[in-house]
């Protein structure tokens, strides 16, 4: 009996020890790919680059923050003067709209930005090594991929520096837990300098034509890079460089303003997208929907300001139905109800259905570049380059003609009055780029130029929008330049001890 038991045990031990165990002890994930198996072929790089774009459309499934598009919209519009709180506005959104900003406000989380930045960093760090693995990958192709990653990283850092002022510059990929996360902030000027450096390199490597329209508008081209460069140069007050960058776009002959005919303009530029007016758009599709339908129509968090229709676009009271700025009623907004229409409409009459509401997010449009060119020209006129003022006015006049702008929004500015021209451009940008996440940045950029020579622009904006019982506090706060930027979120300060909070929010 005893022997029998012993034999059985011995047999069992033998069986267990002899069977191969490398399978169930394997630590490699079964549903993913590890790094040393990736980064082998140019298709891998392509997949990683497309991954960067898709991370900007919607957040990965395991994170709970908002989409990058929503942050871009809110950072650009919440503090501007064209938005009102809708019935579904959150407390955090309302606080930013009322300049009641504290560091624990969840909207100040920059995680979505740094997530995509890390994807870019990964491509920039790891893609060059693929050349030795995959002989079919040419240096040219590699450069194209690098250009895309560099440009997107540059644009995101540019947006962070416009929003938070001083932010940590992380230019190396975070690959393991051993990497250093404790990075102090770099100043806004340093970030802008790095962005310019990245964008210039990206421009050297850039693609001019991918061969199909969707890629030309949905991926980084040399034109998108130059639009970004122009924008950064306007912020750093390098107006000649800004002007030159816009020229590269406008002289290419690849873009044109679409004639304002009946209702096709709205449909082709916004509802369909990727038009000849488009430079870079986030390519939402009906299988990867944007957040707009929800936040503007179904559970509206925002509405257009009460006076946007009348003060921004103007109303011809004699014939409001036929004589109108094509960018106003039923294009940017529904005048009667204040609904934001730009991202949910199909044409000037009907909205899209929920399942088809795939309107893109417009990062740069041709009209934006034209107005940046006008702004750079006006500034150059201010620096003594004669004739540039007239050039700026011509650009505005041409755009207004194409958009059927109303006579009552026309301003009579002399070509020798750069500040007057810039005010006109600001007003025109409000009309042209309404609700595209630009307004606050536009006003801030103009206000801060020449050492905040025109701070009053921000104060006027506060007088218009502030709640009556907080107006004076808000104005006093705006006189502190640090208050124009958002605080670093409390959570970031907690996890990264090297960060230093914006002094206004201490």
């Amino acid at each position: 009996m005893q022997t029998k038991i012993k034999t059985i045990i011995a047999l069992f031990i033998l069986f267990v020890s002899a069977s191969s165990c490398d399978n169930y002890l394997d630590l490699r994930p079964e549903n993913g790919i590890v790094r040393d198996e990736f980064w082998k072929t140019k298709e891998d790089i392509q997949a990683a680059v497309i991954g960067i774009y898709s991370s900007m459309l919607n957040s990965p499934p395991d994170v709970s923050d908002l989409t990058l598009t929503e942050y871009l919209f809110m950072y650009g519009e919440l503090r501007g003067d064209m938005l009102l709180a809708g019935p579904n506005v959150s407390e955090d959104q309302r606080d930013i709209m009322n300049a009641n900003i504290i560091a624990s406000n969840e909207l100040t989380s920059w995680a979505a930005f740094y997530r995509t930045i890390n994807y870019c960093n990964t491509v920039i760090d790891l893609a060059p090594a693929v050349r030795s693995e995959d002989p079919t990958l040419t240096q040219m192709q590699l450069n194209h991929f690098l250009s895309e990653a560099l440009a997107i990283r540059g644009y995101l850092y540019f947006t962070l520096a416009r929003t938070f002022k001083d932010v940590p510059l992380k230019l190396k990929a975070t690959l393991t837990d051993q990497d250093n996360y404790q990075i102090p902030v770099s100043t806004q000027a340093e970030v802008f300098a790095q962005v310019i450096k990245d964008l210039k390199l990206a421009d050297e490597y850039a693609v001019e034509d991918y061969g199909d329209n969707a890629s030309n508008k949905g991926r980084i081209t040399s034109y998108a890079i130059n639009a970004m460069l122009a924008d950064v140069y306007l912020w750093t007050e390098s107006y000649q460089e800004a002007y030159d960058a816009t020229k590269k776009v406008t002289d290419s002959g690849k873009f044109a303003l679409i004639e304002a005919s009946a209702s096709t303009w709205y449909n082709s530029v916004f509802a369909v997208g990727n038009s000849s007016e488009s430079i870079f758009e986030f390519q939402y599709t009906s299988s990867n929907l944007p957040p707009f339908y929800n936040i503007f129509l179904q559970r509206p968090q925002f509405r257009a300001g009460a006076l946007v229709m009348e003060e921004v676009f103007g109303i011809d009271f004699d014939d409001p139905v036929n004589t109108k700025d094509i960018r106003g009623d039923r294009a940017s907004l529904v005048g009667a109800t204040g609904e934001i229409y730009k991202f949910t409409g199909l044409n000037n009459e009907e909205r899209k259905a929920l399942q088809d509401s795939d309107t893109h997010w417009f990062v740069y449009r041709y009209a934006d570049v034209l107005l940046m060119q006008a702004e750079a020209s006006a500034r150059l006129q201010g620096q003594g380059q004669e004739g540039k003022g007239q050039e700026a006015l011509d650009i505005i006049a041409n755009l207004r003609l194409k958009r059927k702008a109303l006579l009552q929004t026309e301003q009579n500015v002399s070509a020798g009055d750069p500040d007057g021209i810039i005010d006109y451009i600001l007003a025109e940008r409000a009309r042209e780029l309404a609700f595209e996440g630009k307004r606050w940045y536009d006003v801030l950029r103009v206000a801060r130029a020449n050492n905040y020579a025109r701070l009053n622009l921000l104060i006027d904006l506060a007088v218009k929008t502030a709640p009556a019982n907080q107006q004076q506090s808000i104005i006093a706060k705006l006189r502190d330049y640090n208050s124009h930027y958002l605080p670093i979120n409390t959570y970031e300060l907690y996890t990264n001890k090297a960060l230093e909070q914006n002094p206004f929010y201490k």
């Binding site: 009556a468 019982n469 006093a476």
Partner: protein, 612 residues
């Protein structure tokens, strides 16, 4: 041992269990009893040497243990430098030299019994008073391009929103001072207010403004808000005496008495008499309650101490203007408040400065024709509102600033074009009925109505399924008559039942559109007579209580609500149908183009029946 082994197995097991128990360690197990380790306010202060002096004050006053108890408090915590500055102001070397009562009052002023984050700060007082009873005022100030939140104008918030277990702490760089001067003392102490002080003394108001705070049976304190005028303002105020045609400057008490104080009946002029105009002049500058600038920016009308006289207030750009109103289409310029000087807290109220002379405006009651479609939200819809071919549109509950209702939040209050109505439109309720399936009551804010006695006429469009018993409430008080919106207008052309306008009026009806067109459904009903007690905007509410037979299509529609002074003709002028597309242009009977038809303009009777 052998015996032990021979024991039955049950016993052996029990023994084993007991041995195991003996060897069990008896040391006490540590159980975490609290769910939160955040220090309370006192613990937080104790842990930070920067605030040791305020801690000393808390210890002296015995508030230290109190601030460590459960609750939701806000503490404004002065730094050590702030307390030292306070001590040197008082000229003492140690905190124990300060009377205990003063220290207690001081501590109480720094504590609020509610948790208030800086996001809730406004330009005015905090919603909760300090434990001392005085309100703290907040704001923001900029020094050398650095802005910070301020408390009581001078103290800057250095560190804000420190969360503790029993509340929130804001660190401030100055000790907040208890306001000890009364309004009267504060006014007298300002040499720029010397004339105003004289006026107060001459009218007997100085003593009243010198009284400490008391509370009535409902625990409402009798704080006062005073609008003071500086000597400079008086120096620029002139008055032409109608008696002798001389123009004098109102910069002496004698001149002010000459201007305002008049004999009443057989009695000589006596400024201390509350009915005297100089006394009323002072009463008009005193508002019951604590009203800071932020309140003036948000509250449109204040009732003053002068009986039933109101001051209107509005924010225009950055300026707060008093009594800037539009009356009968004419803008009357207002008087600004001086922001830098105002918001002075006193022990029994708050003092403001205004930069112009103002006084009670004597106004006679005048008619107000309130077209219910005069709503800013409707007017924004420029494509439809009062346009040829305009289509109906509406707003849901909560979307209109001056109209509120209870009931359904999905049905709308519509602008409805109706060419033969006044202004060519009607205000339509989609489902005016009881219960959640409709709009139960609709309250409109009227334009400014001057105080006086008025008849209210409500005009409607007849509908066979409309409400039969609409109650009308003016400022919450029901008027004497119900409105049956199923009633057709009386047709004057009908030889048997037709009634003349005057007979109809005596029954409480009128045909308010001229000319009356056969089979018109527009009719006006006298809702009642009301006493409008204050000049300002008021509330009129329509309520329905039953819903008999109101199936689909019960569209109740109203046109104009007329407030006519009782001594005015209640029929004329009537309204001209249609939009005001060409104001000032003569058309038909409307000779002056004002879209009203006066009796003189109406050259013919209604549809041939000559009775008016």
């Amino acid at each position: 041992m052998k015996r032990l082994l021979r024991l039955p197995s049950v016993w052996r097991l029990t023994l084993l269990f007991l041995i195991a128990l003996v060897f069990q360690s008896c040391s006490e197990q540590k159980i975490k009893e609290s769910t939160d380790e955040t220090p309370n306010i006192t613990e937080f202060i104790r842990a930070n040497p920067d605030y040791s002096l305020f801690l000393e004050i808390l210890d002296i006053t015995n508030y230290a243990s109190f601030m460590n108890t459960y609750g939701t408090y806000t503490m404004f915590l002065p730094t050590n430098e702030a307390v030292q500055e306070y001590m040197s102001d008082l000229g003492v070397n140690s905190l124990s030299q300060i009377p205990l009562d003063d220290l207690q009052a001081l501590v109480k002023l720094h504590i609020l019994e509610q948790k208030i984050n800086t996001t809730e700060f406004t330009d005015g007082k905090l919603a909760t008073p300090s434990m001392y009873g005085q309100y703290l005022i907040t704001g923001a100030a900029n020094n050398n391009n650095v802005s910070s939140t301020t408390v009581n104008k001078t103290a800057n918030v250095v560190v804000s929103n420190i969360e503790t277990g029993n509340g929130i702490i804001h660190v401030i760089d100055q000790v907040l001072r208890v306001a000890t001067k009364t309004l009267a003392e504060r006014i007298e102490a300002d040499p720029n207010l010397s004339l105003f002080t004289e006026v107060l003394k001459a009218t007997g108001w100085y003593e009243k403004l010198n009284q400490p705070i008391t509370s009535d049976e409902n625990n409402v304190s009798n704080f006062l808000t005073v609008l003071a005028q500086t000597n400079e303002v008086y120096n620029t105020t002139t008055w032409k005496n109608p008696a002798n045609g001389q123009t004098i400057t109102l910069n002496t008490i004698e001149n002010l008495k000459l201007r305002y104080s008049k004999p009443i009946g057989n009695n000589p002029a006596d400024p201390t008499n509350p009915a005297d105009s100089l006394n009323l002049y002072v009463q008009y500058r005193i508002i019951p309650g604590l009203n800071y600038l932020a309140d003036f920016a948000t509250t449109p009308v204040f009732l003053t101490k002068a009986p039933l006289e109101v001051i209107s207030s509005k924010l225009k750009g950055q300026d707060i203007l008093l009594n800037e109103d539009v009356f009968n289409g004419v803008l009357e310029e207002g008087v600004g408040m001086i922001r830098t000087l105002s918001d002075e807290t006193c022990s029994n109220g708050v003092l403001h400065y205004v930069d112009g002379n103002f006084s009670i405006k004597k106004r006679l009651p005048s008619p107000v024709y309130f077209d219910l479609c005069d709503q800013p939200e409707y007017a924004n819809n420029t494509a439809n509102y009062r346009k040829d071919g305009g289509l109906s549109f509406g707003f849901k509950k909560g979307d209109m600033a001056d109209v509120i209702w209870t009931g359904s939040s999905s049905y709308t209050l519509d602008w409805n074009p109706y060419g033969t109505a006044a202004n060519g439109d009607l205000c339509r309720v989609f489902r005016f009925r009881v219960g959640s399936g409709g709009l139960n009551d609709i309250e409109f804010t009227t334009p400014v109505i001057i105080k006086g006695r008025y008849k209210i006429w409500v005009s409607y469009c007849q509908n066979p399924r409309a409400s039969t018993d609409t109650k009308v409430f003016f400022n919450g008080v029901q008027t004497s008559r119900l409105i049956n919106q199923r009633e057709y207008p009386n047709d004057p052309a009908n030889l048997t039942s037709g009634l003349t306008d005057r007979v109809l009026e005596s029954q409480g009806y009128k045909r308010y559109i001229f000319p009356y067109v056969h089979s018109s459904r527009l009719y006006s009903r006298l809702a009642g007579i009301v006493e409008v007690e204050t000049t300002g905007r008021h509330k009129i509410k329509f309520v329905t209580t039953s819903c008999s037979g109101c199936g689909g299509g019960d569209a109740d529609r109203w046109d104009v609500v007329e407030f006519r002074p009782v001594d005015m003709d209640q029929i004329w002028p009537k309204f001209r149908a249609g939009y005001k597309s060409q104001p000032g242009v003569s058309s038909g009977n409307d000779l002056n183009g004002d879209y009203l038809i006066s009796r003189e303009e109406a050259d013919k009777g209604d549809n041939g029946n000559n009775g008016y």
